[in-house]
Symmetry: D2
Subunit: 341 residues, 4 copies
């Protein structure tokens, strides 16, 4: 069998572990060939690829990033890919394509699959917001990085009687904020799934100070926002690459709390450190398992699906089911965390 | 409601997170009272306990160990506890007992439950070998510590063309060896579940050297052992506390490999560093959830059960089901890891 | 002997290690008494203090923050302290005061010393900018945190062909930027000590991309600034606590680079995570040594001085020498780092 | 200029950082050529080497081990090298040799230098026992790894009322034990420099238990040993590679303490994890500076010397001075640590 593999979308610790696992399983388990397309679907369309043998994936298990590179692709070029599926498959002589990516990538994979390409997807997102899988690799690393930051901020907040506002990733789903907030013992957690009342946060902080606990740490997802009328809130300027600049919720919330409380409130915007670097052991194991099962699925002809963690098992689920809706934080999980506002 | 909580058995990162969570949920969620028994069941029998309020559990979320202490209890004293269940419950005025512990503790908890004590158990083990739950807290921390060690050993093995044998915990179940071996990219993994042939390990190392990969890391569970006749193997001397001394499998396997290969093979016995210290974010979240759900179960009168992770949910399962058999590594998981011998 | 100890100024990993060391040495080495003033000089003036015995400092060696708290003091209250030195000393019955703090604290300590108070200072600053000592504790931790962040950002920058701008602490001295930039292998380092030409950074990035190294990481001290006319640069708004908000150099430089390069350039502002949390082993050792030597100096009557690292020795240097000028990065150190702009 | 570089002796985090720094400085600073000999002096004698350009050292700054490999060389082959110095130099066309290594390597380097080879040495040892330099890279990483282990063991010792004996590296000098013992707050520290009385350790533990501190952590250097008559003590069997097996001081001391105290005492032998893996930021900076200065020294013709840390400066010291005696822990440093036995 000849397998094509690519990584697309934002960075996510564990991508290299999947690539390595695909190559190991394919080569040593089945005697397959594997080629890797560079910079995601771009490499597939533009003919940039290289063969991946055992040496090519040596030493990458614990490395962040992706040796294949990643890039965004314009919508119309994706359509081009879907329309020329058969031709593309013949051009590279591949029997199956294994795209590793997030929601956008999986949606694209589904398009290709519908157009006749044999596809086995591998979901990745640090945000943990892909449906039909208990978890995705990358998420544990992001939560770990964010938790370490909260751990550090807590002692400094306590010693200096301060409020700290930590902004973590999560535009549409608050999983990172929820779990790092729980793990770090944040006193307030704000999620995209539930607009918060600034007044409630102010009250919580004041009650803490009244009880002699003269500090507070608030963990806020970048996609969280205040309830209507709760505080003045401007979305940031959008730059040429479609990203907000400077004025994220973390900065604004800290300024607002400082104003209302008359106490120092410092923002910390963790940003891309949550996306890069050495994956945790958990993420390496999950990524390795996903790679292994993707190859097995390919050999069974189990196409149009993606790998998925279900309890302790890795199962295959239809791409169509995975991409219809985002997996957001349900209300009972917020309730468990207790400090969600 | 008045809740008694205790921790028993070996150390496990996350114990304090459970205690804190029980106290938080009980006090702020329900207006309960909580008392903590010291040194496990011993404190329950001997009347050593203290009230736990919010201050008592402040700052312990990320701390290893247990603020309540832990100790082994002799079998006959446990029977004494079971026989005097009603009296004990009245003595402390507790409506429910929440024991946090491993297989032995859960078995004892079941005895108390059968004898009429309202019990909600919380499973803990770094070995991940308790049935009826996907995972236990402590395990992720142990795997993380072992993986960091393997990461470090790999570079030194490679630079000095050596074989490294890392012995990790796991007397009856090989989960830590399996997952840290996968996460660290160990070239050989030996589990208690499957006796290994030394000859196969020798062959693997020789093939690696022949291919120019002049090093190997082998991850061996302390409970792993060679297949009959595969190598001379002595169980270690047993000390007065029932523990083996010096001559664990890691040391013996390294010596045997050195003999057969004529190459340096160094043992590293990680030991108790896998049991202590700051729990990972994953373990803190799981421990916190278990504590929260234990209190909820107590309020629902859902006794004789323990908390359990099922996919993304925390469920309650009968203690009776959990303690009948150990959860060992199944064959298909060994197969996935590829390097299990 | 009766010793008063206090911590003042910004947070710094290792403060607790000094406190613990002072108490250990004083109590077990000399049979002294130690009292700790709360919230810096404020506690000294307002009479907030508590006795510190061995139990009070148990378990704090590795904890960030300060168990004594810290707070800023207005200038005029400091003058008040200096004028009433004798009275203050008598009020608490202290034979020596050990203030642990940065430049401001040491200057205040010198004032008190000049006014007749027996003082032994202990320097602390994560910025490493105090003269007359090779290093200060806290610095190694800050560099370690910043380096870990750069490590993480590098893999993500590489995989996604991006420029990353990491802003680290250092308002007047660029030590953290210099050492974390060297340790992380940043391609550009900008220091307060030398205004940079944006054009040079642009050229460096373009040359990298031309050579096929399609990413760059730039490490910029918060106090770094562009050379006149090099780019439009606004100082941030100052809030009620005297801090800049939002528009630090990291954000502005990233935006400017993005504009000029036409490539994504992401800012990461590490902020207070560099100040808090568990100190590194290096900082714990240095802090412990400083505490020990401060007590010895007190017993020798070696007042008006502060502890200082000189090669491998801890020496005592006059406070007057230490506070006259800031220790900034000399030109030959910039030259060594090679990537300083 | 044409520079030859090699790494010899035991593994040490930071070796790759030196190699990278030598190449960077030589190529970009001076337009030199660099070749790297494989497996230490062996490569020099047997003609195994490769050119090192910027790509060859890309991404190795933070990697443990050495890309050049390392191996022991028999004494007589070293003599062979010394005798053929001129011929060797001509064979490779090198103007200078930069050997990076420990005491053995530096002694060999001195032999070559005396025989006429232009040599600039770079000292490395995790043990920190080379004279004429304040510190060596690798040491900070070893201390950090050992301290993290002690941190983890402390919580488990406390919760389970145990004695933990941690054996760290240091055959002839106790620096790692001293500094990790101080940083981890070990209650007892045993160094090769001072034979210990087991009785004193027993007394210390018993006093702790009597005071209600029912645990103790003892940090013992592998080269530490009991005072004559203090306890039965066997040196371990020596294997074919000259290493002791199984019966190190850590294991024997734990067994002896268990016997005398009647309390559980567990040994943890950290071993090679202290030698491998990602170097700390401190070690990367020091290694990078050493590499830079080695190249500068070469260009100045400052031969027969090695790089050395002196306060905040990197200086050059004669190899002859560095290798005459080992830098062991002086008595005043033991005194500072307080818990040295």
């Amino acid at each position: 069998m000849r397998i094509g593999v690519l990584t697309a979308g934002g960075d996510c610790p564990g991508l290299n572990a999947v690539i390595r696992s695909v190559v190991h399983r394919a080569l040593t388990g089945h005697g397959d060939e594997v080629i890797g397309f560079e910079d995601g679907f771009k490499g597939l369309l533009d003919g940039h690829y290289r063969p991946l043998d055992l040496n090519a994936v040596s030493g990458i298990l614990a490395r962040g990033g992706t040796i294949l590179g990643s890039a965004r692709l314009e919508r119309n070029r994706l359509r081009e890919a879907a329309e020329n599926c058969g031709e593309i498959q013949r051009r590279y002589g591949i029997d199956v394509l294994i795209p590793i990516g997030g929601e956008g990538t999986l949606t694209a994979s589904r398009m290709l699959s519908d157009a006749g390409m044999p596809v086995v997807g591998v979901p990745k997102t640090i945000d943990n917001d892909i449906s039909e899988t208990d978890r995705t690799f990358g998420f544990d690393t992001a939560v770990t990085v964010a938790t370490e930051a909260i751990d550090r901020l807590k002692t400094t907040a306590e010693s200096h009687q301060r409020v700290m506002v930590v902004e973590v990733m999560g535009r549409h789903a608050g999983w990172i904020a929820l779990e790092s907030g729980m793990a770090g013992g944040a006193h307030g957690i704000c999620l995209p799934e539930r607009p918060f009342q600034v007044e409630d946060l102010v009250k919580m902080v004041e009650e803490r100070f009244a009880r002699g606990k003269k500090f507070a740490v608030i963990c806020v997802a970048e996609g969280a926002h205040p309830a209507e009328g709760s505080m003045e809130y401007r979305k940031g300027e959008i730059d040429q690459f479609g990203h907000e600049r400077f004025q994220g919720i973390g900065n604004q919330l800290a300024a607002e709390l400082e104003r209302r409380l008359g106490k120092e409130a410092k923002p910390v915007i963790l940003g891309h450190v949550q996306r890069g670097g050495v994956p945790t052991a958990y993420d390496r194991v999950l990524a390795t398992r996903f790679g292994w099962h993707a190859v097995e699925a390919a050999h069974r002809g189990d196409f149009g699906k993606m790998t998925s963690l279900r309890g302790t098992d890795v199962a295959m689920v239809p791409l169509a089911d995975a991409v219809t809706r985002l997996k957001t934080v349900p209300t009972d999980r917020m309730y468990e965390a207790e400090s969600v506002f």
